[in-house]
């Protein structure tokens, strides 16, 4: 088949089987043209003597150009598909150092999970001065540069691309100047083309990450970075963490919800989900050998 649909009537994702990528989402009756992709920014390298020559590092985010796809458009993602009564999963391999498990549960929850496993990132032999990996969601929603982020897990703040509320700002570095800290929520609202019904898309990360909406209908969050120069802000080391002799591997999850922008309960549901992610259930294990079913 050209397309693979995982999930149920209430919540599903559609993948293109040739490219292996998500191309559509259906969330409780709201259809959304939704693409999901991993990209990377290249690190900047300089002598740190002047502002314009600052290297990317532990403190500094100033990517060298716009983001590049992990896989070229012609390269397809290798994937496996698992289906069952409770959950459908797609296991994806995006080249050498990015993998993902996409999960759609069939009962009990109203979000999809994007469980990313990133690393080890290329070492110093890499032609670029380090890479910063992002997870980007692209929709056909017209948002005019507007999006929203949480403020340290509390109120939701309105953001606008290349804009500050209290002064006339001139953004010199387009990506860095529009990145915000995302503690628990990144969302946008807009109208799809040829439609008068608004749609909201929200991404809840499982840890604080940097993120933004750098183009209409787009959200991105940074998941991992490895850089090879010190940025002269005091640490005196490159951000080059290793484990078991290789670059660090990071694993985490993005929880994605969407729905009609008329749904006044959406923000509340996103806040509840963020609480569930922040304070998950704790598991304890004991032997069950003393229990027959009757005793249990």
């Amino acid at each position: 088949a050209d397309q693979l649909v995982i999930g149920t009537q209430d919540l599903s994702l559609t993948l293109d089987t040739k490219s292996g990528r998500v191309i559509n989402g259906s969330f409780n009756g709201t259809e959304l043209n939704l693409n999901q992709e991993f990209l990377y920014y290249r690190g900047a390298s300089g002598n740190n003597e002047v502002f314009e020559n600052r290297s990317s590092g532990a403190y500094i985010f100033r990517p060298n150009g716009t983001a590049h796809p992990i896989l070229d458009g012609k390269d397809s993602i290798k994937f496996d598909f698992v289906a069952g009564d409770l959950i459908d999963e797609v296991h994806q391999t995006w080249g050498d150092f990015v993998h993902q498990i996409i999960r759609v549960y069939k009962v009990g929850v109203d979000y999809a999970e994007f469980d990313w496993v990133v690393g080890p990132l290329p070492d110093k032999k890499d032609p670029f001065d380090g890479r910063e990996i992002i997870n980007r969601f692209t929709t056909n929603l017209k948002t005019d540069g507007h999006f929203a982020t949480d403020s340290n897990g509390r109120e939701t703040l309105h953001r606008k691309l290349n804009h500050r509320d209290t002064w006339n700002v001139s953004i010199v570095e387009q990506e860095a100047g529009n990145y915000y800290p995302i503690t628990s929520l990144l969302r946008l609202t807009g109208m799809p083309e040829n439609s008068d019904k608004g749609v909201s898309l929200a991404v809840i990360p499982d840890r604080a990450q940097g993120g933004s909406s750098l183009a209409d209908g787009q959200l991105e969050l940074m998941v991992h970075r490895r850089l090879f120069r010190d940025d002269a802000f005091g640490v005196g080391e490159a951000l080059n963490e290793t484990a078991y002799g290789e670059g660090l591997i990071a694993r985490g999850t993005h929880y994605v919800r969407a729905g009609s922008s008329e749904d006044k309960t959406a923000l509340g549901k996103e806040r509840v989900l963020a609480q569930d992610v922040l304070l998950p259930v704790i598991l304890f294990f004991s032997s069950g050998k003393n229990y027959s079913k009757e005793q249990w």
């Binding site: 009564d85 959950i87 496993v117 259930v281 704790i282």
Partner: protein
Amino acid sequence: PDSLELLREAMGVMQHHDAITGTEKQHVAEDYAKLLHDAVSGCAESSGDALRKIFANATNVSSQYNKMAVNMELETCPGLNISQCAYSEREDSFVVTLYNPLARTKKQFVRLPVQAGTQEAQISYTVLDHEGKAVPSQLVPVPSFVRNLPGRTANTTAELIFLAEIPPVGVASYLVNRQKTKNSEGENADYLYADLKSAKYNK
């Protein structure tokens, strides 16, 4: 009280601006990891002690359970994020006790690293809730990019998934049984071939 104080102190240290942002030196980052690991491990033990006391004094269970609860292990598995848990891997029958820290009922999918069978030696699992009712469960394979993570020592190749419901600021226990042969009478039993090439699924 000592372990709680240790975790409080560790969390206090972690409020340092370089800890929050990740701009500390590498050896400091590793020391932070050690501080947190020691503190969290200690609190995991204390949490188990607290649960044992609650179970040993519970009045809505049999006195036999009260006596058994005094010696209940109540271990945690810090490697669950890399699909690793010695308990669920080695035990044929084990109890998962879930604690919900939120002040509302929580439904959460639980994922437990377990052995998958082979075509010759099939394995199935049943999950019972606290009323002895079978809970729907599903086995999914652990992908190779997780199985081969450096530092992962587990031999499990599958995860057992079920939806748990836990009361507000409360606990719920589930009994998981593994059967070494295909259990045709099992309620909601599920099995998974380790050799995925022979696995079949329906539309």
